[in-house]
C-alpha cells in the first residue's frame, strides 16, 4: 500500500510541477513577446527618424538647388537655371506635407515645421524679388544687394532650422534607443535563467516519473501474478468472481464463473438477464428477491441457489458480495460465487449414512432386547425344569440319565454366561452424560464385594493403592475392575493362592509410545498384577479381541468376552489398556486413563 500512496502523492506533486512549468513557459513567452514588440518598435523609430532625416535633407537640397539655380541665372542670365527653382517649389510643398505627416505625433517638430515653412515661404519670396530685380538688370541697385543678402540670411536660417530639426529628431531617437537597448540587453539573460529553471524542473519531474514508473511496473507484475494465482485458485476451489459497478449498473464476470455455468469464458455478455437464464426455475424468485435487496442495500449476504447447465446438470451455488468504494469514489460490489455441489452431495451422503447408522443402531438395540429377554427366557426355563428334574425325579433317573442332565446343566450355564457377557459388551457404550466424578477406590471395593465368594474360596489376597477420584462412567469402571480381577482369579495357578496387586501412578504421555501425540499430557496409570498362569507375550494383543480365548473351554470357563469389555470400557474413557504375560509367573494389565 505504501508505494501506491507515495505514487498518489507524487501525482499531486507532478501536477503542481506541471502547472508551475506551464506558468513559467507562459511567462517566458510573454516576456519574449514584449521584447520583440519593443524591438520592432525601436526599429520603426529608427526608420521613422531616417525618413524624417531624408525628407529634411531633400528639402535642404531642393533649397540648395534653388539657390544655386538663382546664382547661375544671375551670372549667366540663362533662364534654364531657373527650372530647378520652379520644380523645387512644387517639390517643397510635397516635402512639407510628408514631413508634417511623419511628425504628426511630435508637437515640437510640428511647430518647427510651421516655422520652417514660414521661413521657406519668405525665402522663396525673396527669391522671386531678387530674380525680378535680376531680370530687369538692376544688379547693382541697392535693393538687389539688400535682397540678395536677405536671401542668403533667410537661406541660412532655413538651413539652421533644418539642422535643428535633424538634431531634435536624432535626440528623440537617441532617448528611445537608450531606453529599449537597456530592456533588450536584459532580455536574453532573463530568458536564459527561466529556461534553465524550467529544464531543472523538467529533469526533476522526469526523475520522479521514472521512479514512479518503476514502482508501477513492479506493482503491475505483482498484480499480474496475483491475477494468475486468483484464476488458479478459482479453478481449484470451484468459485468465480464478479463485480457489479453500481453507478453504471454493469457487471464483470471472471472466466471461471462462466466455467462454473458450463460455458466458455466470456462467451456471453455479463449481465443479470443472461445470468438468470441459468438459474433453476424454482430458485429464480428467491434469487431475484435477493438481488433486488442487494441493489437496494448495496450488500449481499450469503445466498444459496441452484443453476442448470446447458447439458442439464444441476449445480448448487453459494454467493456472497461486499461493497467496495475505490479511490475515485466509485462504488462496486465484489462478489464471489462458489460451486458447492460436492459439499452438498457429501453432506447428503453423510446424512444418508447417518440415517443408516441410526437404523442399524436401533436394530442393534432391539437385538439387545431380544437377547436380554426373549433369549434368556427359554434358557431360564430349561434351567428351572432341570432343577425340578434333579429335585423331584432324581430317584427315577439312571446313572446315565444323571450324567446327561449334568451335561445339559453345564451347557446351559455356559450359554447363560455367554448371553450375559454379550449383553454386557453391547451395553458398554460411551455417553458423555454418564461421566461423573467418582471415587475409584469405592468402585474397586464394590467389584471386590461381587467376587467375595470366589476370593474366599481361592484364599486370594488383593491389595490396592489409593487411587484419586476421576471423571468416569462409574458402573463401567466397576465392571472393568470386576472383569480384570475375575480374570486373575480364574486363571490362577493350581495350589497357589492368588495374589492380586493393584497399584496407581501417573505417566507422561511422551513416555508412552502409543499415545505420544495425545492431546493429554498426563495419564492415570492403574496396574493389575497377578501371580497366575500368565500367557505368551505373543498373544498380548489378541486377548482383547472378542471371543478370543487362549485356553480350551474345558480347562477354564471363559467366554472370551470379558477382556474385550475391558478394552471397550477403557476406550470409552479415551484411555488404553495393555497386557504383559509371563507363562507360569503371572500377568500384568495396565490401564491408562487421561488426566484431565
Amino acid at each position: 500500500m505504501m508505494p501506491f500512496k507515495s505514487i498518489y502523492y507524487s501525482e499531486r506533486f507532478l501536477k503542481i510541477i506541471f502547472g508551475f512549468s506551464l506558468f513559467m513557459v507562459l511567462v517566458m513567452g510573454g516576456i519574449a513577446y514584449k521584447h520583440i514588440r519593443q524591438l520592432s518598435r525601436s526599429t520603426a523609430d529608427v526608420q521613422h527618424n531616417y525618413e524624417v532625416h531624408l525628407e529634411l535633407e531633400k528639402l535642404l537640397s531642393a533649397l540648395k538647388d534653388a539657390e544655386s539655380g538663382k546664382r547661375g541665372f544671375i551670372i549667366s542670365r540663362d533662364s534654364t537655371f531657373l527650372e530647378p527653382l520652379l520644380l523645387s517649389s512644387l517639390e517643397l510643398d510635397k516635402n512639407m506635407e510628408h514631413l508634417k505627416f511623419l511628425t504628426k505625433d511630435n508637437p515640437e517638430q510640428q511647430k518647427n515645421i510651421a516655422e520652417l515653412k514660414a521661413k521657406i515661404v519668405k525665402s522663396l519670396d525673396i527669391f522671386k524679388k531678387t530674380l525680378d530685380l535680376a531680370a530687369t538688370d538692376n544688379l547693382n541697385s541697392p535693393e538687389f544687394i539688400a535682397g540678395f543678402r536677405e536671401g542668403r540670411q533667410t537661406m541660412n536660417s532655413v538651413r539652421f532650422k533644418i539642422i535643428e530639426m535633424t538634431t531634435h529628431e536624432s535626440d528623440v531617437l537617441g532617448t528611445s534607443k537608450e531606453k529599449s537597448s537597456k530592456n533588450i540587453s536584459n532580455t536574453p539573460m532573463l530568458l536564459y535563467y527561466v529556461l534553465i529553471l524550467s529544464l531543472l524542473i523538467l529533469l526533476l519531474t522526469y526523475l520522479q516519473n521514472s521512479k514512479n514508473l518503476k514502482v508501477l511496473k513492479e506493482k503491475n507484475e505483482l498484480l499480474e501474478t496475483f491475477k494468475k494465482s486468483t484464476t488458479q485458485s478459482e479453478i481449484i476451489s470451484k468459485h468465480g468472481n464478479w463485480i457489479w459497478h453500481i453507478e453504471e449498473n454493469t457487471f464483470e464476470y471472471s472466466d471461471n464463473l462462466y466455467r462454473l455455468l458450463g460455458e466458455e469464458p466470456q462467451s456471453f455478455e455479463a449481465n443479470l438477464a443472461n445470468y438468470m437464464d441459468f438459474v433453476h426455475p424454482d430458485d429464480v424468485d428467491k434469487l431475484t428477491e435477493q438481488v433486488n435487496k442487494m441493489m437496494e442495500n448495496e450488500d449481499l449476504p450469503f445466498i444459496h441457489y441452484r443453476i442448470i447447465q446447458k447439458n442439464g446438470s444441476i449445480k448448487h451455488f453459494k454467493a456472497y458480495g461486499k461493497l467496495l468504494i475505490d479511490s475515485d469514489g466509485h462504488k462496486k460490489i465484489l462478489g464471489t460465487t462458489a460451486d458447492i455441489t460436492d459439499e452438498i452431495e457429501n453432506y447428503r451422503l453423510i446424512e444418508k449414512r447417518n440415517l443408516e447408522l441410526e437404523r442399524s443402531n436401533k436394530e442393534l438395540s432391539s437385538f439387545n432386547y431380544v437377547a436380554s429377554h426373549d433369549l434368556q427366557e427359554p434358557l431360564r426355563k430349561i434351567q428351572t425344569f432341570l432343577s425340578r428334574l434333579e429335585e423331584k425325579e432324581q430317584d427315577h433317573l439312571s446313572n446315565n440319565g444323571k450324567v446327561y442332565i449334568e451335561r445339559i446343566k453345564s451347557s446351559s450355564t455356559r450359554m447363560r454366561s455367554l448371553i450375559d457377557d454379550l449383553l454386557q459388551f453391547s451395553r458398554t457404550n460411551r455417553s458423555e452424560e454418564a461421566l461423573e466424578d467418582s471415587n475409584i477406590n469405592i468402585l474397586l471395593e464394590t467389584a471386590k464385594h461381587d467376587l467375595v465368594e470366589i476370593i474366599s474360596d481361592k484364599r486370594a489376597r488383593i491389595s490396592s493403592d489409593f487411587i484419586p477420584s476421576m471423571k468416569v462412567i462409574p458402573f463401567q469402571i466397576k465392571q472393568l475392575f470386576l472383569n480384570l480381577m475375575s480374570n486373575s482369579l480364574k486363571y490362577s495357578r493350581e495350589l497357589t493362592a492368588p495374589v492380586i496387586t493393584i497399584t496407581y501412578s501417573q505417566t507422561k504421555a511422551s513416555d508412552l509410545p502409543k499415545i505420544k501425540y495425545s492431546k493429554h499430557n498426563l495419564y492415570h496409570t492403574i496396574t493389575v498384577k497377578d501371580n497366575g498362569i500368565g500367557f505368551d507375550q505373543d498373544y498380548a494383543e489378541k486377548i482383547f479381541i472378542l471371543f478370543n480365548r487362549l485356553h480350551n473351554k474345558n480347562e477354564y470357563s471363559g467366554t472370551g468376552i470379558g477382556l474385550s469389555i475391558c478394552k471397550k470400557i477403557v476406550e470409552n474413557h479415551n484411555g488404553y489398556i495393555t497386557a504383559e504375560g509371563d507363562i507360569n509367573n503371572g500377568s500384568i494389565f495396565t490401564i491408562y486413563l487421561p488426566l484431565s
Binding site: 434351567q383 428351572t384 432343577s387
Partner: protein
C-alpha cells in the same frame, strides 16, 4: 392382616412361570392364598372390583401383552385404595432401565426370575416373610434389586 394367611397375587403371561410360581408356594408350606392373572388387564379388572379383597403382595411381570407391568404399577400407585399393596417386580430381565423406571414409579422390590427352582422357592419365601414396613423405610436403589 384380616386373615391368618398372606394373600399373594401374580400377573404373568407366561404359562411356565405361573406353574413354577404356584408349585413353589405349594412346596413352601406357608399360609398363603395365591391368585394368578394372565395379563395386566385381567389383573386391573380384578383389583378394580369395589370392595374386592386386596393382595398383601403383588408380583408383577413387566413384559405382558395388552397392559405391561409398568402400566399396572403406575395405575396402582395412582390409586390411594391400593396404597398398602407391596409390589414386587418379577421379570426375566434386570436391565438398568427397567430397574430405574420401576423404582421411580414406587415398586418395593425387583426380582429377577431365577433359573433354579430352589432359588425361586427361597426368594418367594423371603419376599413373603419380609417386614415390609421396615424394608420400605430403608429402601434405596441399591437394595431395591433383590440379591441372593
Amino acid at each position: 392382616m384380616q386373615e391368618d394367611y398372606t394373600y399373594v397375587v401374580l400377573a404373568d403371561d407366561d404359562e411356565d412361570d405361573r406353574l413354577f410360581f404356584v408349585e413353589a408356594f405349594e412346596e413352601l408350606k406357608i399360609q398363603t392364598r395365591v391368585d394368578i392373572y394372565k395379563d395386566g388387564v385381567a389383573l386391573m379388572d380384578a383389583l378394580n372390583v369395589p370392595d374386592s379383597v386386596l393382595p398383601n403382595i403383588l408380583f408383577l411381570d413387566l413384559n405382558m401383552p395388552k397392559k405391561s407391568g409398568l402400566e399396572c404399577l403406575i395405575e396402582i400407585k395412582s390409586n390411594n385404595r391400593f396404597k398398602d399393596i407391596a409390589i414386587a417386580i418379577y421379570s426375566t430381565s434386570a436391565s438398568e432401565e427397567d430397574i430405574e423406571n420401576t423404582f421411580v414409579q414406587g415398586a418395593n422390590i425387583y426380582i429377577k426370575k431365577p433359573s433354579d427352582f430352589k432359588i425361586l422357592k427361597k426368594i418367594l419365601s423371603d419376599v413373603v416373610t419380609i417386614n415390609w414396613q421396615y424394608h420400605t423405610n430403608g429402601l434405596d436403589k441399591d437394595n431395591f434389586l433383590l440379591r441372593l
